[in-house]
Symmetry: D2
């Protein structure tokens, strides 16, 4: 159960994400560790990709008195006592601390505005601290939300320098980058430099209709559903692990404008869900796949 975002979040609630090779005793070890420290498990989800020799994934939400005080020690002890013996990757966080987000955008405003509106309404467990754009168009719109807007133009010649500026601007200030219809491909170099995950919204139902003019492509083929895909960004364009997808039904009655609008509605909803889930530590990576708890 999530505490209401409009009421003060519970400072004693923590979240633990774990992935490792499957084997006996993992849940018992994690449970014993938390139990011994007086933590009460509120929610727990677990999955194994293959009963024999697969990978193991766990998300635990727990309450522990004075969590904020104990978190650094808890992290260190868990690393030594549990994570190391089992060869685990893990992340331990206080649920009350919002994820800091930079939103990259070009000219289409619907995804960016939807995120800003949701944050203002308390509907997004995130803190949008910076908007970055290669165009000045949305500056005024963003100003109304009291979020800094950095206009960093990008041309073929200035791309490397622009990425350097972008990385410098957000370095150490954000936990997540969201590409809200940002029409530039990010270099692998940039992704490495920022060192935090990036989520992209693809304006189509991947892997169908990759490339330019997806709604036009879709209309020409007579498709009856348009969709959107939110995925983690990897160096290979539009090929990262998928977090969420959805579709909307269209008909021959609808013009390209109507279809694009329908698509935009799906895009912003899908992106908002993907960002929310990431910020709630619900998404785990399994190679090219995601586990969404």
């Amino acid at each position: 159960m999530q505490a209401s975002p409009r009421t003060a979040p519970d400072a004693d609630v923590g979240r633990l994400l774990v992935s490792c090779e499957d084997g006996p005793g993992i849940v018992a070890a994690v449970s014993a560790f938390l139990h011994a420290r007086g933590a009460n498990i509120l929610q727990s989800d677990q999955d194994t990709t293959d009963p024999v020799g697969g990978r193991f994934f766990l998300r635990v939400v727990f309450r522990m008195p004075d969590l904020m005080t104990w978190l650094p020690a808890l992290d260190e002890e868990f690393a030594g006592e549990v994570a190391e013996p089992f060869g685990m990757w893990f992340r331990l966080r206080a649920a009350a601390v919002p994820t800091r987000v930079a939103v990259f955008v070009s000219r289409y405003d619907h995804c960016l505005l939807d995120l800003l509106w949701r944050q203002r309404r308390g509907d997004l467990p995130a803190d949008i601290v910076q908007v970055v754009s290669n165009h000045p168009d949305l500056q005024k719109e963003v100003a109304g939300f009291d979020v800094p807007y950095a206009h960093i133009p990008v041309t073929k010649d200035t791309k490397a320098e622009a990425e350097r500026q972008q990385a410098e601007l957000i370095a150490g200030r954000v936990d997540l980058v969201v590409l809200a219809r940002y029409m530039q491909v990010l270099s692998g170099d940039f992704l490495e430099r920022i060192g935090v995950p990036a989520i992209n919204i693809h304006h189509s139902f991947l892997p169908a209709f990759a490339g330019a003019g997806p709604y036009e492509q879709a209309r020409t083929r007579g498709v009856k559903l348009v969709g959107a895909t939110a995925h983690y960004v990897t160096e290979v364009l539009d090929e990262g692990p998928i977090i969420e997808q959805d579709v909307a039904r269209i008909s021959h009655r609808e013009s390209l404008v109507d279809i694009t609008r329908r698509g935009a509605d799906v895009e912003r909803t899908v992106l908002a869900r993907a960002v929310s889930w990431h910020c709630q530590d619900r998404v785990l990576l399994d190679g090219q796949t995601t586990i969404v708890f």
Copy 2:
């Protein structure tokens, strides 16, 4: 409004499909033609792809006393008085006469059985007169529905001869061929010889995951929706005009078996809808696109 398929269909109800270049006066001419013969229009749908110089599509359902008697004359008069002056393609049919269908199938039974069940329940405005398969597996199952089952094996070497046998078997006996998970590609030659449309169900959400193992492909990419696409068959594999699509939501909790099952449920529903709509004369072709009224 459709008459109930469980009650006797109304023998006086006719359906007219029209497509031509758009221009003034088409609807007026068609309406006047029907009105002058005492026909009352029950339902009418119309679409123009482009206000300037586009194509025009019309579906009219009407009631006319003694339709069955007058149909041949009506067809001839419409051709001369309306279709020719406007350069129209048209089709005029009595709604009470069911479409005769041959179903082609390999080993997967779910789409075939769903069509047979729906026909038996009176839920499909079609008459399945022949099942054709390159495997003997489903013979017994089909026998229970009193539909003839032709087992015509197909190998690389015998394909041309097999297609000749298939075409001969159904020649003049069917108005539609349905590929209900038939795992052989039909040659352009065969399609031409049978001279009736063919509908295929694609076990995936086209154009994504074409080729083998679509659900496995989908699972590996972490997709959150599986889908199915029903389309008219053209010589280019899996590229014909799309009639209907749908999706079902899946999660990491589901195994490949679960996902395949979910996919099969979507496949049979989507195919049944596409076949029904075709048999109700609801589908018109516009190049690679369909108009579904």
Copy 3:
């Protein structure tokens, strides 16, 4: 096909809505009327509720040179030559003239803001000319959209007087009232005085969970889908003809806050669709039912 709202709308496109008792010759008469005046029909939808003695519904989109100039004469001639002989209700409009809308709201902002955003983006074929609220909360938010905000408090004692003020404020200035989570019941008197239709969004899947706390009710019953219903307002609370509905899937994992958020997303999408369709003259009334073309 709709012209793009971002390009100038085509001033020669008109829309005609018709409903009357069914009978022969209606379509022929309407078509002949338009054809004789040089109008070209772009889109036409027609429905008959019952082949025998039912009601007839028609929506025609047409292009006619100099429509704006001829519209008053066209209206008068159609009334005399076609509508009267057939006992028709009809509405004839220029598509380029946007519907003028007053939005009534209380404290929840999501539906109102979604409508304002869509209008600003050119996605709503409407002109929001006034916001009316019984609370001052959203004044600042609305100011950013340059739409006047009238704060008219309503108590049990002042309700009649408040409604009088509201009606006076919008009299002659609007073609549609939208209740975007307005938490006051409008009197039949008020509805009559304003003389234009009103659309309401119901925060639930009608007729289920009418009354207070619908999401809480739904959660207690373990429902797996939450929904929203947009309908025309009648004197009987929450019982007017339904224009659009949709649902979103929920699970036991989601708290009441999560479910309410999901519901809010459905509410704003459903309301925006209903308002758009009304403003595009796509919705016809058939007693307690709507025909949505």
Copy 4:
């Protein structure tokens, strides 16, 4: 992960369901119990209704060598060592043992046939051992599936005696009763006598349109979605905890026959999902709500 139903199920896989008042140490105790016996946890889902003083729900899938041999002892030890100290309700089962099901039906065949087909295809983790009907209509149909069909007529006068016969027929032979459009209300007496859960499919989107003629009711109100609800049967008609729901979109174009068909498609899909989930021990009761893992 579910093993494929077409391959032999893994005899070493067990499932444990637990519910009790929440408190610290539950997961640790369950994990330690299984770990100590060499069981490896494959999947684990957990939920707490309220962080403070709520109820706790757990589903664990595990593999344990020679499970079938140890199951009785395991059950007894778990009862004594874990369940009793924590005041737990629990159920421990071998996944390879299919749930035995009796299907009750009247005249509508779609839900019954869908279950029989799925079972034959290996898609239902259940063993349908008996069909019971108050009508003889579907006898021949069911015979083709080699399942015994008991025709037990029910009138107002004979109801008590009919229920006695029904209960006697299935006593000790089934783990679940499925009402697949059985048009008789079961008495609380009967439910108590059979001592196993019963699942019903409601031909509508509960709680809307309860009572007779739901699709007709829906059509009259102009609803745009029809749905179905699968729920556990309680003495209060149509009020039991909901397991699954779904909807399909309809339009004014569709007749009552079309809508009923759409509804029937939703009904059989929703019922099949609910029965599958129950048989996979995915459904836990929380008062009037269900937790579906």
